[in-house]
Structure formats: structure tokens, C-alpha cells
Amino acid sequence: MVVMVTTSTNPDASETVVTPGGTRIERSEEFIQLLTPDGERVDDETFAYAHDDATIAANLRHMVLGRRFDTEATALQRKGELGLWPPSLGQEAAQVGSGAALGRLDEVFPSYREHSVALMCGVDPLDMLQTFRGTSMIDWDSRRARFHLYSFVIGTQALHATGYAMGLQRDGLVGNDDPDDNGAVLVYFGDGATSQGDVSEALVFAASYQAPVVFFVQNNQWAISEPIEVQSRIPLYRRAAGFGIPGLRVDGNDVLAVQAVTEWALDRARRGEGPALIEAFTYRMGAHTTSDDPTKYRRREEEAAWRAKDPIERVTTYLLGRGAIDQAWLDSLAEESEALGVRIREGVGQLPEPRLEDFWALTYASLPPGLAQQRDEYLAYEASFDEEPA
């Protein structure tokens, strides 16, 4: 079994960071990369990209639409249409590359920022906005989409994903001869979540039972205001070794590399070879949420440096250079993107206003008498305002 893969196309990119407290921390930026920020293809000795330019173009489309959705939602929050929004700006390659690796029987357990993956799984963006507008709890059919509920208590979903993967094992959907009969689970969380006990416990359970689950860490460098150094003194992917599972770090802004590495990890999980951890090295270009103000804790120079590594631009450059797409293709995508924006802008105001009556029946499979009595008291109280004055 490969326990750790350390191939790298930029081996010189490591440094030692000294924290304000004087602690020296290795900050390696080694990762697997197949497409440079300039749009140049590079080879990796272990991971080859197995798909053609049409697949890369499809990924570009998902990234552009995902970014549009996110940008619209951020703007809607600023206009007061949403209570909150967690932007995914800058993380489109990490999300689309991993989402593109999903197979027919695979399942996704997201945190709360995987908007691009959600769209790829067929979740309606307006359904997603309901949660952030406060018109509903989580209003998509997670079983149909194979995209489970957003999880707002950090890291909790890592355990749910691992348990679900244990279910796949018991259902005989792992390690079959026909690869189409196998499934795995892809669970997303961030660098901050790696400090959570639930994530550590999930890694223990997954390793112990060799469950078919891939832990996908989007290391976007910031957990609200806390830099990665507060969470870990070693690169996150190296934590996997302590759990006895493979750990890999990939350029999270390179959709080709992310797809190749995630396919590798999901394939071996489906074959019954156990879990793996992928650290997608990326950057949260926006705020943690619309309530956050990154100017209080990070420098513009850092943001500018990451802007130069934009995940969308490099793919556009590459595909145009190859002649795989042209300006007409891009114009058509821009039209599709604009149509999505219009649909979101017009649709958000049309989302039905909820009534408290709608929620009584959601607590238990059937309404207990005491709760039914509370509902009746509430309805009678509400109705009392409608009565004609005497």
C-alpha cells in the first residue's frame, strides 16, 4: 500500500514560518500539479490526466457557472435578500475537479461551501438559497442528488460520511469485479475542521474499518481569521500517515490535478483498498462569510499573489491555446452564465415565505400529543387576531 505520495512539480516552494510566539513551522508548498497558473501542462510521475480536452472544457463550464452562482449569491446578500452567504470564490477548481471524479454510486457529504459541487450534482441553486434566505431548513433531496445536507457544525459530516461508507461495505458495493457496481463517499471539510475531534475520529473509524471514504480537505489557508499555522504545525496531508492512510497534496487551483488525484483516491476506495486524505491547496479569495472582514487579518499582497493563480484563467488559456475552445464557445458560456444569474436574481424573491405551521410535523415521524397541543394553541392564538372586533 502506498502510504504517502510526495511527488511534486515545485519542490523548491517550501519555507519555514516563524509564528509571533517564536515557533518555527515548516510551511511546504509542495503539491501535485498538472496545469501551471500560466496554462502550461506539466507531467507528474505518478498522476496522469486521463481525459480529453472536451472533459477539461466541461470542467471549465462548471467552474464558470459555479463562480457565477457564488457571485450572485454574495451580491444578493449585500442587497439584503439573503441573511448570510459563505463565498466559494477561488475554490472552483478544488470543487469541480473533485466533483468530476464522482462515479455513479458515489455520495458527497459537503461542509457548507461546496456550491460548485452541489450544482454538478443537480441541486437547484434556488433550493440552496432557501437555507441562506431563511425560508427553509435544507430544501434539496439529498438522496436523489447524492449530495447530502450542508453541515454547519464544523467537521461533523466527516463521521456521517464514514458511517455511510461503512453502509456501502455492508451493502456489497465495494470491491466488486465490475467497477460500475462499486461506490465510495467523498467528504469535504476545510483546514479549520482538521482540528475538530470529529474529523480525527472519522479518520480513525475509516482506517480501522478500511471504509471507502475520501477525505477532501480544502485548505484555503484561513479559518475565518486564523491562518493554517494555528491549526497545524505540519502540512495537513501529512497527518494522514498518522492514521495509516495515504495522504496527498494537490494544487487546489488546478482542476486537472484535482480530478486526477481524486479519481485515484475514489478508485482505490471503491476497489476496497480503504480511505485516503487529499489536501487541496487553495485560497479563499473572498470572506469567510458575508459577515466577515478579511482586511482585519490578512494583507492585500497575499490576496494579489493568489489572484495570479486563478483556477479559471489558467484553464481558459490552456484550452484557447489548444484550439479546443474559441471565443464563440466562451461567448456562449457567458450567455449561459448570465441566464443562470438572471434566474437566481429573479427567483430569489419568488421563494415562498414559510409559515411556522409548516414546521410542526418535521420534529418527529408522527406528532406527539403534547406537541400537537402546542400547535393547536399556537393556531388558536394566531386565529384570535383575525376575529371581528366585538
Binding site: 438522496r143 461533523t156 463521521l159 456521517h160 461495505q169 475531534g197
Partner: protein
Amino acid sequence: MTQTMTMAKALNAGLRRALEADPKVLLAGEDIGKLGGVFRITEHLQRDFGPERVVDSPLAESGIVGTSLGLALRGYRPVVEIQFDGFVYPAFDQIVSQVSRMRFRSMGRLSVPMVIRIPYGGGIGAIEHHSESPEAYFAHTPGLVVVSPSTPLDAYWMIQQAIASDDPVIFLEPKRRYHEKGEVDLAEPPLALDAARVVLQGTDATLLTYGPMVKTCVEAAIAAQAEGRSLEVVDLRSLSPLDDAAIRASVEKTGRAIVVHEAVRSGGLGAEIAARIQETSFYSLEAPVLRVAAYDMPYPPSRVEMAYLPDLDRILDAVDRSLSH
């Protein structure tokens, strides 16, 4: 078809029957496999149903509950064993923020048919964290069903009913009663999971209790008979939801209510029950509703636990106070 067995054996038999009846039922917990659990409640079940269905878990309570939630989403009906009451708190977030509200969060699309078995309560001379009564935390949480059997008969049937429930159930097992014997009718369940039972009929006052204190209350009622007092004992069985109709019927008959539990008094089930009684039955009451409970301190060393826990004399003392009105 009736057999005499201990509560421990009744739970084992109930779990066995559930495993036989539904291939989606599986058990998970620490030491529940080869060892059969520290109280032997799952004895021989791994031998007979295999390690995929009777799973020895890593020592991580949040992990046990959280992975079981994932299994439930995949269509399984996990029955989790928390080794001791005091060890359930590491799983508190998974129970209270995840398991309990998955139906609500998913707008009714998902359910979590999970049972969390917790041996609870004191009286066994244990060291700290092994004698707790955490029921109020869970009864305070919408979405959870909280039940506690007091006899082998109820243990045998209630565990099967809990497993069949589509809601998550906190199943509190009074560990000091594990080895007491009783008659178990294996043919059909005597009551629904959410129903209270009048254990002893009486006319002068009602003792409302559950779990380990049912036996203590019955003994107190028998002792009171010698003094010519007729006490009714109601075994609540279900702590959430409460069987309001049964509580009300008994209290309005006797006019006096005393709630008895091992958990500390403040913010306990007794407070909720007393509040409901005065809301519904104020004009039937001859005396204030009283509570006999543990004192508001952490569970003390075992050499003094019998002074800390309610016992027959403290219950009768409360009866005297109630009847003095």
C-alpha cells in the same frame, strides 16, 4: 409464553430478536463484540450475527454515534451502546445537533432510526462518571424520544419498539436493576412505547417515577400500606414524550403528586412534570407537587451515594409532607 429472566437477559433476548427480524439492524459500541459488553447485554450476539452486524467500535463516543448516523442515512437501523452514562457527553453534539434534528433539517426527507442505549443511574458502588442520570439533557431536546424500562418485561419489549421507531431513541437502562428477575411474556408487547403504566393502584397520593426508582417507589407504597395509606405508583416509561393523559388521570384521582428520580432536582424531569400538573390539574390538587431527587451536586463518592439518592424513607417523608396539607 412466559419466561422468568433478568433485565440483562431480557435486553439480550430483545436485541437478538430485533437482529433476527430485520437484516438492517446492527449494533455498535465499545467491547460489545467478543466480550458481550461490560454488562454482557450483547453476549454472544457477535458470535451469532457476525462482526459486520455487532461491531466493536474504536473508543470514541462521538465517532460511534456520528458513524451510526451515516449508517442510518444508508438505510440501517443502528443500536449504539454507550458504555456508561458519564461517557455519553463526548457524543453530545452528534446526538443533540445532528441525530435529533436530521428530520427537521432535511424538511422531513430524512429520518434517523437509531437507538442509543445508555446504562444509567447509581446504587452500584461505582467510581465517578459511572452513576449519572443524564435524561433531562435529552428530554429537553426536540426530536429525541427518551425512554427507560423498569422491569425485564418492559426491557424486552421496549428495546424492540425503540429499534422499530423511525425516530432516534435514547434508551436508558437502569443498571442497578440489570440482575433482578421478572416474568417476560414473549408473545406480544403489553403497551405502546410512549405509554405510562400504573404499577400499583392507590387513592391517597401518586408517586410518579421511572427506571431504577420504580422498584423503590413500589416498596415505599407497600410500606405505606402498613400505615393505612394507599399510594398509586405510575411508571412513566417514556420521558419524552410524556404520557400526559396518564399523569393527569392519576393525579386528579388522588389529588397529590410526588415525582421521584435519581437525577438532580433542579431542571430535572420532576420540574417539568410538576409544571404540567399545575397547568392542567390545579384545582384537583390537595397539596403542592413535591420532588424527591438527588441533591444538586455532582455524583458523590459511592460510600455516601445511598444518602444522596432517593430511598424508601425519603419517599415516605415526602408522602407525609404531602398528606399534611
